[in-house]
Amino acid sequence: MKAETSTMNAEFPDILREIPLLEGSVTSGSLDDQVLGVTDRKPPRRWFVAMAFTSTLMLLGFGFIGYTIYTGIGVWGNNSPVFWAFDIINFVFWVGIGHAGTLISAILFIFRMRWRNAIARFAEAMTIFAVMCAGIFPLIHVGRPWLAFWLFPYPNQRAVWPNFRSPLLWDVFAVSTYFAVSAMFWYLGLLPDIASMRDRTANKWRKLIYTVISLGWHGSARHWQHFEKAYLLLAGLATGLVLSVHSVVSFDFATSVVPGWHMTIFPPYFVAGAIFAGFAMVVLVLVVVRESMQLKNLITLRHLEVMNKVILGMSCLMGYSYAMEGFTAWYSQNVYLHHTFLNIIGGHYGWAGWLTISCNIFIPQLLWFKKCRTSYFWMILVAVAVTVGMWFERFVIIVISLHQDYLPSAWRLYHPTLVDFGILLGSFGLFFTLVLLFARVLPVIATSEVKGSLPGSQPRPGGEHA
């Protein structure tokens, strides 16, 4: 492959030559055998072990959710004045995780970053699963989830409409649109790959299922033409959407008057944090996937290194945002805001503030070293730290701001209950169960995209087709 690349680009100086995206000799055929062949084989023992673990967590979480719905949300620790707690923290956390997938699949697509091809599919799937996890929380937070359809504006016998000036309603629209668009983007990208699986499988039932869900895709030039156009348009739309969704989530906070929430920096700060947390989760999952599914030649260390560079960049942005928040608080000359920010570094929950700052700002600085960017130990350490740190960042924003605001007589500490933790763990169980299922039944790498970017896969430039 190296030889092929050099003959292809013989006229270019070395520095302009593209570093190969994949390692070893990868052809269209070998790619199919490697990626699509996974579904033909029986899952290994460790897959079942992992599945048993995550699905147990998931069922545990469902049990706690059922208990919450049956009994009422009084079983949570939420109480005056901390009416938003684990439920909204988890919601913002999971929506944020989802953002990395759309960033990788849409924004990097528009910028023609071809290294994204190998990891885009997995990241998109993680987006969908993360948004599913996120969607659970506002739903159970409403208390009577069987009436959650009241959130949508539909003509009803009560003759009332929702308030379109409420950011919470904007959130309903933003998150539902985000889920629908991500699912559409993901499914369209999967079509050619499902068609490949349809044509290579010998199993009758699997062939039937793949035939139906590939919708009769047959790769004609006219279809590809519209497909590519649609994919480009979807990428453009998803780019705008991904920036809007976490901005709208941040409006839930920023448009209120609670000290610590009422900040103009919130939308970009939330979007940066979302991408940050999402990339950490993608790195975490990709390390496991490339090791356990023998995809080291397709998801290379170079992919992980680039991802780690993005994490480092986002960490610096987060540091800037934290500093700006502090500056705004100081510059506001507002005693309530001063109090809230002193609470972050020195109050009862000061430990959470420092945990956030350490995990999100200090630990990721390790990634300045190439050794850390390419070593499993260090990148996993950073990714776990970022995941923990970003969860606690939302804890800081929500609980610290709420537990002491304008009225000292209403100050009160927040104590989460067992049910809170159970549902949080359950959402992780749901997420990883879906990831594990996805890894076994659908292609984890967008083979048609990778095929199109293999060396020699496109006709040589220049008029002479020899």
Binding site: G29, F164, R165, R200, T211, W217, G219, A230, L233, Q458
Partner: protein
């Protein structure tokens, strides 16, 4: 059975692209390629028209934004105006986030479903290429160039042309036997499909409606842990949920009527003053308890009179004009002839108020000149 297309297989995009102009020169039919991934420059080589998707998405996106603006404006300013945060009901700035989301949703579904359903005519499982042997390679690593009937295909010439450009393998696809689109079979299947779907949905709805009220989370607080009147209860020794008053006590307003006969009652004096409040109370009680039989003017012409066997007393009759207050009270408490007792439904105060009111009615019906102010 007619031939639909002749398919030539190549093993690289280069070979495919080189073959296209040479085959095109021969003008044997419509050219189409089938490839595992999109090939740069294919649109130009096959002279495809530009995809109209961009314009469709732009149009639908704008429509989505305007729809969201109109919908929110109509709801917030016209149908259900509500002032939030001191903003005018029609201030449009707050509508922007949802306008954006709906614009993206419209545009996305246009791009995705428009591409699939309108432009690519998918899902469609009847395309001849899907049953070709070559399909196994096409979605893997082979590139097919097809000369398709337009409308008639010279199969031999097409084979020769593909041979000449070095196709590795050549396959002839036959046109599938296609019935008309709305075949009887199709209509039958669609109708039975809809019928079965309705049946399943109906049964599911019936089950949900039957079962859901039983599940306490959906009971809307109807199921409360308390005992109702006349219910049994194992808590008390007598097995009843309701309690008797304590021995020797009397509830407020329920003093026993300690008068033995109407004659004894005649001596009673109405303890209530004749104030507008008392008369209003009397009128209210009279209207509810008495007027249906005795009539609103107490003249014995009530709405129930004709339907009821007994003839209610005309309280405007001379004998009743001279009747003592106490005897009227006696009749209210104990009943008279066919009239039942009203004691359970009127408090002591209300009974005397009714007496006052009956007196007022009698005076109103027999007014003298000096009553006119």
């Amino acid at each position: 059975m007619r031939d639909f297309a002749v398919l030539g297989l190549f093993d690289s995009a280069d070979a495919l692209m080189a073959a296209i102009p040479k085959v095109k020169e021969k003008q044997l039919g419509r050219l189409e390629t089938y490839t595992p991934y999109p090939i740069h420059g294919m649109d130009e080589a096959l002279e495809l028209r530009r995809s109209p998707l961009g314009g469709m998405v732009l149009g639908m996106g704008i429509l989505g934004a305007l729809t969201a603006l109109g919908f929110q404006y109509w709801i917030s300013a016209v149908d259900y105006p509500i002032v939030t945060g001191g903003k005018a009901p029609g201030s449009w700035e707050a509508f922007v986030p949802i306008m954006f989301e709906i614009m993206v949703a419209f545009a996305t579904f246009t791009a995705g479903l428009g591409m699939l359903l309108l432009l690519n005519k998918l899902p469609f499982f009847g395309h001849p290429i899907l049953t070709a042997k070559a399909m196994l390679g096409i979605t893997r690593d082979r590139f097919a160039l097809a000369i398709e009937a337009d409308p008639e295909l010279d199969t031999e010439a097409a084979k020769a042309a593909l041979n000449a450009v070095g196709a590795l393998d050549i396959e002839v696809l036959t046109r599938p036997e296609q019935g008309p689109f709305l075949s009887a079979d199709f209509i039958l299947r669609t109708t039975s499909g809809i019928f079965i779907a309705c049946l399943v949905a109906g049964l599911a709805m019936y089950g949900a409606v039957k079962l859901m009220p039983v599940l306490s989370p959906v009971s809307h607080m109807l199921n409360q842990p308390r005992v109702n009147a006349q219910q049994a209860s194992s808590f008390f020794a007598d097995g009843r949920a309701m309690r008797m008053p304590v021995q020797g006590t009397v509830a407020r307003g329920y003093l026993p009527f300690g008068v033995a006969s109407p004659e004894a009652a005649a001596a009673l004096v109405n303890p209530l003053p004749r104030t507008p409040e008392v008369l209003a109370m009397g009128r209210q009680a009279f209207t509810v308890r008495c007027a249906v039989c005795h009539g609103p003017a107490a003249n014995g012409v009530g709405s129930l009179g004709s339907a009821y066997g007994a003839k209610p007393a005309n309280l405007q009759a001379p004998q009743f004009l001279a009747y003592p207050d106490g005897k009227i009270l006696w009749a209210i408490v104990n009943g008279k002839n066919a009239m039942p007792s009203q004691a359970a439904d009127l408090t002591e105060e209300q009974r005397w108020a009714v007496v006052h009111y009956v007196r007022a009615l009698q005076r109103a019906q027999n007014a003298k000149d000096e009553d006119i102010p």
